[in-house]
């Protein structure tokens, strides 16, 4: 279990997450949502152990992340930043193989597994500069999977993808969760969060204003509080759409 206790995170001398407490279970998709500037990406960095808490702690199965050796932490938690720029025009295969860096082994089986899981076998020799947006997103996720982490933390992986690509990537994340990995994902699209996440953390101004199942955490009153928008959900469970009214 990944747990935050009284977590306060600072960036640039400013508190971006304040006094947050949450417990995140493996085997499901936990989505972090909130308006722009709510501290979603910072919270994800904190949960990944990449932003040291100013107060409180993040623990992984009871052990403080800050006390783990960087390699041990890297073996347990895979982190995928929001649309990273790839410095060198490497082939898909070489990029995915970077996922083995925390283990310092070749990990051929894990790399093949990741290429298979994201249907990248045909693209394995292709330079990353020649990939479409959807292919690139799959390759970046495959890099994380190749490290066989217990936890996958990803920041807005669906940004810049079209609808079909979004659903395909969500399906891959669901498969990871079904296989027992913990998946924590920062999402912008509340519809995707409502229909596909198992649990939600709703942030506003660095504070957790709601958490729980999508129905509870994205109830109209929470949306009104978080986004200052009057909105309601329509449609049946699993295929709901948000209809926004007035501010």
């Amino acid at each position: 279990m990944l747990a935050a206790e009284n977590l306060t995170l600072m960036r640039g001398g400013r508190a971006v997450v304040t006094g947050l407490a949450a417990q995140i279970e493996p085997g499901q998709i936990t989505a972090i949502v909130g308006p722009n500037g709510a501290g979603k990406s910072s919270l994800l960095l904190g949960l990944a152990g990449l932003l040291v808490p100013a107060q409180g702690s993040v623990t992984l199965d009871g052990q403080a992340l800050a006390s783990l050796h960087p390699r041990a932490r890297a073996q347990a938690i895979g982190y995928l930043p929001q649309s990273p720029d790839i410095a060198w025009d490497v082939a898909v295969e070489a990029l995915v193989a970077l996922g083995r860096l925390p283990w310092r082994d070749r990990g051929a089986a894990a790399i093949e597994g990741a290429l298979d899981a994201l249907a990248l076998q045909e693209l394995r020799q292709r330079p990353v500069s020649q990939l479409s947006g959807g292919e690139r997103a799959r390759v970046l996720l495959a890099r994380v999977l190749a490290g066989e982490p217990k936890w996958i933390l990803t920041d807005e992986p669906l940004a810049a993808l079209d609808l079909a690509q979004q659903l395909s990537l969500v399906a891959h994340l669901k498969a990871c969760a079904a296989a027992g990995q913990g998946v924590v994902v920062v999402l912008h699209d509340l519809g995707i969060a409502m229909n596909h996440a198992d649990r939600l953390l709703v942030l506003k101004d660095g504070h957790l204003i709601a958490q729980g199942s999508p129905q509870v955490a994205l109830a109209p009153d929470v949306i009104a509080q978080g986004w200052q928008v009057n909105a309601r959900w329509i449609g049946e469970a699993g295929a709901q759409a948000l209809v926004a009214g007035s501010r």
């Binding site: 960087p70 938690i77 720029d85 410095a87 060198w88 970077l98 860096l101 310092r104």
Partner: protein
Amino acid sequence: MNRASLAFAGLLTVLLPLSLLAGRVWIDPFAAALPDNAGLILAELRLPRAVLAITIGAGLGAAGAAMQGYLRNPLADPGLFGIAPMAALGAVASFWLGTAIPPALAAWSLPLMALAGAGLGMALLALIAGRTSHDAAGGAGGGIALFTLAGLMLASLAGALTALAITLAPNPFALSEIVLWLNGALTDRSWREVAIAAPLTLAGIAVLALAARSLDALTLGEEAARSMGMEPGRLLALLVVGVGLTVGAGVAVAGIIGFVGLVVPHLVRPLTDRLPSSLILPSALAGACLVLAADSVVRVLPFVTELRLGIALSLIGAPFFLWLLLRMRRGRL
């Protein structure tokens, strides 16, 4: 050892004997009678000079590959980005200290100050790069432009301070000597210079090789790299020491030789998977080939005085830099 290393190691074994034979006095290995002083020329002039060219080229090639990986910038170069000028500033400062240094240390003061200058330059560059990488989050192009400008600023600042130190030099007779040395050359170098530069350069390349995996992790940016276990403090320390040793040792014995670190990784990259870890050793070998070949060519060019090696490489390197810029503008880098 990868394909690129084998290729450049093979090239080096061809270039080395050719370089030994070429010069004002050509030595024909198939001639019935060798010139009288052939043995002396080979053992005391050409061999140390060739070994020094290999040493300096290897150091600059490895340093360029490591710097390009660390700064995630294909335009990074120890000379252009101020590391070699900082080493030169250190070396010139050691002339200044002159009599203040105890005689026992005097022989080592120039190389040591050059190493310190190079290390300091790398640390300053990393500091600037670290700051800009936060400010430029999201704007990848802006990041590269900022690093490049920061490096050029560091180079021109170190150059200006060096010029100032020379202008105010207490001993005017040393002036012309310093200016000539700054231009970079391997003329009249002996085994003494090899003894200073070779061990330091080898140590530096070994230190840079230790950084290889962390440099690979940086391919996806600093946060992704840290998530894969890269430790920024350790990596910076390896870069400061490794670049300080390789570039500082080269500058200490041969002055500033620019553009090798810029050009070489680009020659090597297409032969590899393009990750920084695959570039360091082949770039060292390719750098050795480039400097050895260039030094052999300047030696046989029919000029009244020998063309300075540093100037010759700049004449090749500057148009190459321009070509890289044009390619980057078309998004092909």
